[in-house]
């Protein structure tokens, strides 16, 4: 009975990893590829590790498998974020059918300055305060 559970978990994890690899090969640009590899890859490895924990059914090994899962779940988003940020700074081209690039309007790649869109409101408030102090 437990063999069926273990083999099912390992097969599911392998299928997810295969899906991640297919996504990395087939998708058109860097953010979509990262989307495939990070999420599907981390989940696939975690499922395989749960299978390993069930197979050995021993406290230290279960703890090790849990440590691997926690580590991968913790580091995969961080690594993806850092790589995506670096790639955007370097200027990796997006897909030619990308619908919306919000950063493009408010981000200056030369100075690495990102406008938030609230600068005008801040300026208005400063002027208003100045006028108030002048009146007094």
């Amino acid at each position: 009975m437990i063999e069926w559970l273990i083999s099912g978990l390992v097969l599911l994890g392998s299928a997810l990893m295969l899906l991640a690899a297919i996504g990395a090969l087939r998708l058109p640009d860097l953010p979509t590829r990262m989307h495939a590899t990070t999420k599907s890859g981390a989940l696939g490895t975690s499922v395989v590790m749960i299978g390993v924990a069930f197979y050995f059914a021993d406290a230290p090994i279960t703890f090790r498998a849990m440590a691997i899962i926690g580590f991968i779940m913790l580091t995969a988003p961080v690594a993806a974020h850092v790589i995506g940020r670096a790639a955007y700074f370097v200027g990796v081209p997006l897909w030619d059918r990308t619908v919306k690039d919000i950063l493009k309007e408010s981000y200056d790649p030369k100075t690495h300055y990102l406008r938030s869109g609230f600068e005008d409101i801040d300026k208005q408030q400063e002027e208003r305060q100045k006028q108030d102090t002048d009146k007094q």
């Binding site: 273990i6 390992v10 097969l11 994890g13 392998s14 299928a15 990893m17 295969l18 991640a20 690899a21 297919i22 990395a24 090969l25 860097l30 590829r33 990262m34 590899t37 890859g41 981390a42 696939g44 490895t45 395989v48 590790m49 299978g51 390993v52 197979y55 050995f56 021993d58 090994i61 090790r64 498998a65 440590a67 691997i68 580590f71 991968i72 580091t75 995969a76 961080v78 690594a79 993806a80 850092v82 790589i83 995506g84 940020r85 670096a86 790639a87 700074f89 370097v90 200027g91 990796v92 790649p109 030369k110």
Partner: protein
Amino acid sequence: MLTLGLLLAFLRLTKGPSLPDRVVALELIATIVVAIIGVHAIDTGVSSFLDIAIVMALTAFLAAIGFARFLERGGPRDD
């Protein structure tokens, strides 16, 4: 299935149009290798392989961070 995934990720690694693509492919390869180590531990029944899997995941994370640092500080720019 895992070896097929490894092969596809390696294809992306060799083909990748830009350096970040290759970094993403390398990270995927490291994740697949961790899964392969897990399956191998089940196959042989030697549980010490899990330690190696932990080290593998750690190294892959550090490599990704290092590559990103290299890219942000004066890697090949095209602008």
